[in-house]
Amino acid sequence: MSIWALRGLRDGVVTTRWPRRADEYADAWRGPVTVIGDADAQDVDGLCPTGAIEVAGQVRVDQGKCILCGRCVAQRPDLFAWSAGATGPDAAALTREALVIPHIAETDEAVAGGRPPPGAARTAALRRSVHVRHVDAGSDGSEEWEIQALPGPVYDVHRLGVFFTASPRHADVLLVTGAGSPGMAGPLRTTYDGMPDPRVVIAVGTDAISGGLLGDRLTGVAGAVPVDVFVPGSPPSPFGILNALLIATGKLR
């Protein structure tokens, strides 16, 4: 056993300093597509396999539907670009509408009006003891890997006072992944109902937000539980999920 004690010291500290300091990997992350131009946008119909691109007067991208295939960026670099960075206020949204880029006017006002994050307002009292329960509602399995990375040595959420718990009775935050398979609607609701107030729900990944590629029959998890924070991505990076956890609990604005 002593061999492991020595091995544990091998690489020194590998844990990120984020959010106290910037993290190179988080900043270099390639996020969902954003709109950079508004030129002639007649021929973008059918470009997006999930229909995330809307052309109604102005070209908009619904990041809640973006699966990051990059087809639009490759074909119309004048209109579309990857958003940069896995963290920050833009990497998670507090309303479904806020994922539509560029924002529709009234959403902009609501955000600019300094509306307090509703989830964070409820959970401010939790301070440095936030317990998280995860439920897979029909994911492809990749989101679970990214959430599993969080207690690991690189992200180490324990340092931020975030802990994973088995029982919904102990949980403050519900991380939901997956497109919302019919079989999980009941267990998801039961888990949510088992949580004490205050509670916050985070929809992790494009599948959980809109169903992604399965969006024609599965439409995400918002129909089963009230979602407070949306994290787009297919899957989102561990930094993106951590960012959302901190936003949802008022540790980050």
Partner: protein, 472 residues
């Protein structure tokens, strides 16, 4: 093989299948597809160098057919799936309960004083995919285990129908997210076979690089889960660190930590953002660290005690079922598609012979994965050091399949993935994926002989399967 009356067609299919498996070929799947009015049973048989599809057409009004499971045991779950999807009853099936449709919990299999059922799931106690294990136990031993996988059924196969061929690969990548590359490869191999296109050499080698990186990440994930189950905190952290480094390397190559968007019909989407020499320079220290930590793990006696003899699958059962991937190899049954039906860059690379394992326990499965990690690093090194000058290369060739049907395959970290794809006028009319997770998971029923409740996490982790891939 098309006969109008049900019985003879299915009987002929059964006889053909048993004749093939008796000869040493492997039963690789059985599905039903409704084309117009008729339902056709398609069975896949793996032979050296190819996968054959044998068919039996049921009459238009068929409501039942004689079950194949009594003759071909491995068809057990496939026929439950067929029943769920088509409503047609495989007459004589030993336990025709719903599999991907919700249904009442199965009646208890064993009965007696003091026996009770512990449900694990569908919401599991850790961050895990949703599925339900119903453990029937008198308190310690596990005389029987039931599994219910319908919770995660998303209708992937049905979603494929009507998609454009280039969009299909995006869905394949999300069928079993932790094996995105393997699913994309199997899908693309099928459509490339229909289109008759040959992918460029550089793309073939880079597909190998990504497939092997995916294998390393998955096998490291199994090591993390096993070390975690044994309470080895440092080993858990070490392997989690290695896995994170592999995923970061993959994202540095293509932007996605799961290699999504890399594989496209006709080749790869783009060349990696790093040059081969840079990738090799990054891999060398990682390989060294993984191998020393793996050696330490396989030398930690308190850990080995938990794995040795745990969850044994006998070689006879592995062969009979056609157990795929590391589970088959650990029980002395190896049918690695990279060796027996090589594709992409694999024919050009020297093939590593699989080690011989017979124990079939959780330890043997970890040893197989440790060997595969070493081989994977070796394959990546060879593929990249042999990499042709980039300036003379194209990443892909045009691939426009018109009309046709083909089966594509690839060796995922969990074992062989199959895609039976039919394309009509450039659109997918039918696509049936089959993951190794689906084929192998049913074997979990059989490996609890003598094991107790605390062995459960080791056995589950040592299988290394994905619920998403099983339920699709």
């Amino acid at each position: 093989m098309t006969v109008t009356s049900t019985e003879p067609a299915v009987a002929a299919l059964r006889d053909a299948l048993t004749a093939r498996t008796d000869r040493g070929d492997r039963f690789a799947g059985l599905f039903a597809a409704r084309r117009g009015d008729t339902v056709t049973l398609s069975a896949h048989v793996a032979a050296p160098g190819r996968i054959d599809t044998l068919e039996a057409e049921l009459p238009p009004d068929a409501t039942e057919y004689p079950s194949l499971t009594p003759a071909i045991g491995a068809a057990f779950w496939y026929e439950r799936l067929i029943h769920d999807q088509t409503g047609i009853v495989p007459e004589g099936h030993p336990r025709l309960a719903p599999l991907i449709k919700p249904g009442d919990p199965l009646p208890r299999h064993v009965a007696g004083y003091g026996l009770f059922t512990i449900p694990h799931g569908p919401v599991r106690s850790g961050v895990l995919e949703s599925m339900e294990y119903l453990v029937e136990t008198p308190g310690e031993a596990i005389p029987h285990l039931n599994m219910r996988i319908f919770y995660k059924h998303r209708g992937i196969a049905a979603r494929f129908a009507g998609m454009a061929v280039p969009d299909g690969v995006l869905l394949a990548e999300r069928a079993e997210g932790i094996a995105s590359i393997a699913h994309a490869l199997a899908y693309c191999h099928a459509v490339e076979a229909i289109a008759g296109c040959e992918i460029p050499r550089g793309a073939a080698l880079l597909r190998v690089v990504h497939a092997e990186l995916e294998r390393i990440a998955n096998h490291l994930d199994v090591a993390v889960r096993l070390a975690d189950a044994a309470g080895l905190a440092v080993a858990t952290a070490r392997f989690a660190l290695h896995k994170e480094r592999v995923l970061r390397l993959v994202s540095a190559l293509c932007g996605s930590r799961f290699g999504r968007g890399v594989v496209v019909p006709g080749g790869i989407a783009a060349f990696p953002r790093k040059r081969p020499a840079e990738i090799l320079a990054e891999l060398a220290p990682l390989e060294q660290q993984v191998s020393t930590d793996m050696r330490a793990l396989l030398g930690t006696s308190s850990f080995l005690d938990r794995l040795r003899g745990t969850g044994p699958l006998t070689p006879a059962r592995a062969r009979e079922h056609g157990a795929l991937g590391p589970i088959g190899k650990a029980s002395g049954y190896a049918d690695d598609a990279r060796l027996t039906r090589p594709y992409d860059g694999y024919p050009a690379l020297p093939s590593a012979e699989p080690g011989t394992h017979k124990a079939g326990d959780a330890l043997a499965r970890l040893r197989v994965r440790a060997e595969e990690i070493t081989q994977a690093f070796g394959l990546i090194r060879l593929a990249l050091s042999d990499f042709p000058e980039r300036t003379r290369l194209t990443p892909r060739v045009p691939c426009h399949p018109g009309t046709g049907r083909a089966t594509g395959w690839a060796e995922a970290p969990q074992g062989e993935v199959l895609y039976d794809v039919t394309v009509e006028d450039g659109r997918i009319s039918h696509c049936q994926p089959r993951s190794a997770s689906f084929h192998n998971l049913v074997l979990m029923h059989e490996v609890f002989a003598g094991d107790i409740l605390t062995d459960f996490p080791f056995i589950e982790a040592s299988f290394g399967l994905s619920a998403a891939g099983a339920a699709l």
